[in-house]
């Protein structure tokens, strides 16, 4: 299997982890071609993940914006409330086939942690989740969900106390118990084979979109929009369309307070090539290669890197990446809630905001599909706080 997307990707990890990665790669190679595995996974997608997720015509939004027709891919209606479950089912099934009994993972918004804890409970695996201290605070609901599901949640207060530090700590823990533990990476990041493997488990999103939009509209969309943290929901919906060159593939990064401030997480817009977390990709870093603290109100996008395949798609011009800031994301969060009665994850709200702009610019004969990667229940407290509402006082 090719370890790289152009120059990006690779396997930059401590020696202690190398054999484990090789073992995973071999297992993935074997099982992803194994018809029983493929069938079992398809069944889990159906019965556990609640797939296929609907492709929803956002008629009110479309009418209100007056431009392109907007469809929402409803990953928010998956079990546990986001696209993360697809990848978790794939990797957990693999881990089980590999005979592993313990799972560790990192989580940002907590959606990956919840999905992992959920499937670990179902598969009777021990589960240990690492989450940045700051994220533990802003996503308290998800922390207790994980604990309820039987997972151990470790709050990571080193570094900036966010997603990247959770990854660091999860890697550290993995080296300590490498022999019986599977690291279940939550996005298309990290060393090979994760970026490819996670993509393979997420590409169902785009495959479903193709069938659904063909059925509803009799044709493919003109643009596909998704938010990008590590990039798994974006790759998931892009992948099946990469060869349909006429379709614009658009990834939206978190601009936090704005890309002209120090407080953002807009990796493609403002980053440069580097090597971190096991991969060569784009990162927000200083002139010496120190990884920069990043900021977004969205815990799931608050990451200084991006999956190597996105770095590649960007470098060859196949996909475009734009920043959307906190204020705009909150605006879209409220807009979609009031317009369609759908509360999006604050991560997904970034993609919604860009779609609002894009739809207005495109003709009524055009079609945009947005990946609604998750639901926003986990974010209402934080948005309330952002807007100055004190919920505890209510």
């Amino acid at each position: 299997m090719d370890k790289r997307f152009g120059e990006f990707g690779g396997q930059y990890v401590p020696e202690t982890l190398m054999e484990a990665l090789i073992e995973i790669e071999e297992a993935f190679n074997k099982y992803s071609r194994d018809s029983i595995f493929v069938k079992e996974l398809a069944e889990l997608f159906d019965t556990v993940a609640n797939r296929p997720s609907k492709l929803y015509y956002a008629s009110e939004m479309t009418k209100d914006l007056g431009g392109a027709k907007i469809y929402l891919k409803r990953e928010d209606l998956n079990h546990t409330g986001s696209h993360k479950i697809n990848n978790v089912l794939g990797q957990m099934l693999l881990a089980k086939k590999m005979g592993k009994k313990k799972i560790i993972c990192e989580t940002g918004a907590g959606q990956h942690g919840v999905a992992t804890a959920t499937i670990a409970a179902l598969f009777k695996m021990e589960c240990h989740v690492f989450m940045g201290k700051e994220d533990v605070e802003r996503q308290a609901l998800n922390v207790f969900r994980m604990e309820l599901l039987g997972a151990k949640v470790t709050s990571v207060d080193s570094g900036t106390g966010t997603l990247k530090d959770a990854v660091n700590e999860a890697f550290r823990q993995w080296t300590r118990e490498i022999e019986d533990t599977y690291y279940l990476m939550g996005s298309v990041v990290g060393p090979h084979p994760y970026p490819i493997m996670v993509r393979e488990f997420q590409k169902i999103i785009g495959e479903e979109v193709r069938a659904q939009i063909e059925k509803i509209e009799g044709r493919l969309p003109d643009a596909i929009v998704a938010c990008v943290g590590g990039g798994s929901n974006a790759i998931g919906i892009f992948h099946d369309f990469v060869d349909d060159k006429k379709i614009r593939l658009i990834g939206i990064e978190a601009a936090g307070d704005g890309i002209d401030t120090e407080f953002h997480a807009a990796t493609i817009s403002k980053g440069s090539t580097g090597i971190f977390h096991g991969m060569k990709s784009k990162f927000l870093q200083d002139e010496y290669g120190k990884i920069m603290p990043v900021y977004s109100m969205s815990a799931g996008l608050d990451y200084p890197g991006i999956g190597p395949e996105h770095a590649y798609l960007s470098s060859i011009g196949r996909a475009e990446y734009y920043p959307v800031n906190d204020r705009e994301a909150v605006e879209a969060f409220e807009y979609l809630s009031k317009m369609e009665g759908i509360i999006p994850a604050i991560e997904s709200a970034h993609a919604i905001y860009y779609t609002m702009k894009l739809a207005r610019e495109m003709g009524k004969d055009k079609i945009i599909v947005v990946n609604l990667s998750g639901r926003g229940d986990k974010d209402v407290y934080q948005v309330a706080r952002y807007k100055g509402v004190d919920l505890d006082a209510q």
């Binding site: 990890v13 020696e15 054999e19 090789i22 440069s272 010496y288 120190k290 990884i291 920069m292």
Partner: protein, 260 residues
Amino acid sequence: MHNRIEKKFKELKDNNQKALITFLTAGDPDIDTSYDVVEQMINNGIDILEIGIPFSDPLAEGPTIEKASYRALASHTTTDDVFSLVKRIRENYDLPIILMLYVNLIYKYGIENFMKKCSEVGVDGLIVPDLPFEEVEEVKELAHDVNLLIINLVAPTTKSVRLKKIINKSEGFIYCVSSLGVTGERKNITTNLSDFYDRLRTETDLPLALGFGLSNKEQIDRLKGNWDGYIVGSAIVNIIALYGKEAPTHVGNFIKSLKD
């Protein structure tokens, strides 16, 4: 030939001695103190010096060295500051100097530039914890251009097939990770170290240095029999954490206790 590292190991072997390799993070708590610590180490008889360049995300380190990294960054230590430190040491001492750093620091500096600078200031080797054997080529070629060695690591988990490959391409010495996990002191090392040593020794005549978790003389004495060198890191960093600017003499005393 020959790089200072290779020469040092040969010299020690000839005298039937083991290498004492000691680590500190440059700039912890500041560059001047680091220089003084280094002098104390050298004056108390270390054989090889390993200097860590601070990094924002030292994911192969345990909390001890991780915090040292943060302290060094807090005093604004950059890669160039570390080069200056090496230069100053080299002006006065001839022992082998190895830099320990994360690959992104090399990459972002520009690999070729980085190597040139190393050579200018007198660095002899590099340990890059997140640059495994599989990814090392690009860096290694440019390192060799300036007579710089890249030290490979092997772990107890490293399987035979890869172990052979790694050893075949190793140079200077092999950094042998004593047990699973990140850097840091350990009360007990559970790996069967003599098996580990034997596995390695059947494959190579290169010097084998043991690292990760060595914290005191008794522990080292117990292991001394086989290995060609031992690397002491966290135990020193802990002293620096405790004494800050006053650390140099304390580190000196500690090194003396190891040598006694």
